[in-house]
Symmetry: C2
Subunit: 150 residues, 2 copies
């Protein structure tokens, strides 16, 4: 686990892990997010959701992504902030009302830039699991990380 200081490229290594906390998700939060960003029946209404692919109310994958982002922003102290140029997301199973989302991140790669000596890239893999340990989301992002000045 990482400590409290700001982390530069030199401080990162493959396998470095971050505990990013947890978030309890309920039906009201699921519906509020959906009304704003993903207004589809299976994210908005229990009854309408029953006859769909999900068979019941499910959170928008984008809500699961946004909640993970907030938890990473609060718990992964990379110097200069979390700046991603690309990301991949997978949702192996739906996120449901009552799920408690646990988020952990891990450094998969650390690559100094060849052209820009003051920085590099880190590949960060973030998992969201519920209280049963079921994997709800895997999110992998390439982040820009500065080298330690001087």
């Amino acid at each position: 686990m990482a400590g409290c200081g700001l982390l530069y490229l030199e401080d990162l290594y493959v396998g470095l892990r971050f505990e990013c906390g947890s978030h309890a998700l309920d039906a009201a939060q699921i519906k509020a997010f959906a009304r704003q960003y993903d207004p589809q029946p299976f994210h908005l209404d229990e009854d309408a959701a029953r006859g769909t692919f999900f068979g019941g109310l499910a959170a928008s994958g984008w809500q699961v992504a946004c909640l993970a982002m907030r938890m990473i922003a609060e718990h992964v102290p990379i110097a200069g902030g979390l700046i991603g140029g690309a990301a991949e997301l997978r949702w192996p199973q739906p996120t449901r009302p009552g799920d408690i989302l646990h988020v952990t991140s891990e450094i998969l790669e650390v690559t100094p830039s060849r052209s820009k000596p003051e920085r590099g890239m880190a590949l960060l893999r973030t998992e969201t699991r519920n209280q049963k340990g079921e994997l709800l989301q895997v999110f992998t992002a390439k982040c820009v990380v500065p080298r330690r000045p001087g």
Copy 2:
């Protein structure tokens, strides 16, 4: 361009395009989203943003993704809804206050399921450009699409 009816797997073809409308993004929206989901200085405050990688206020990439999602949900009438199991995102350049986001989607692949005769997969590529035509986000998602019922 697609018409108004619900689209089944049989209705989709490579190159089918959807105009998903536009959205004017301002600094207040950028900061409000960031407070909730991506609380980093370059998304929250003009002055704090000046000394960062972005050199000024920039929208969270997740906001750009969520706005695109809403516009797709409203303009891509796939039967059963837009249900993605995986997505890839790229942000070639920052999204700024004052940008007017134009969103278009295109079908890249249509693949019947081998194991599940009642459905298949479509690969949907969605671009977000600003009023200058600059590419801000490319978002590619694998979606579950039902076949037209017997």
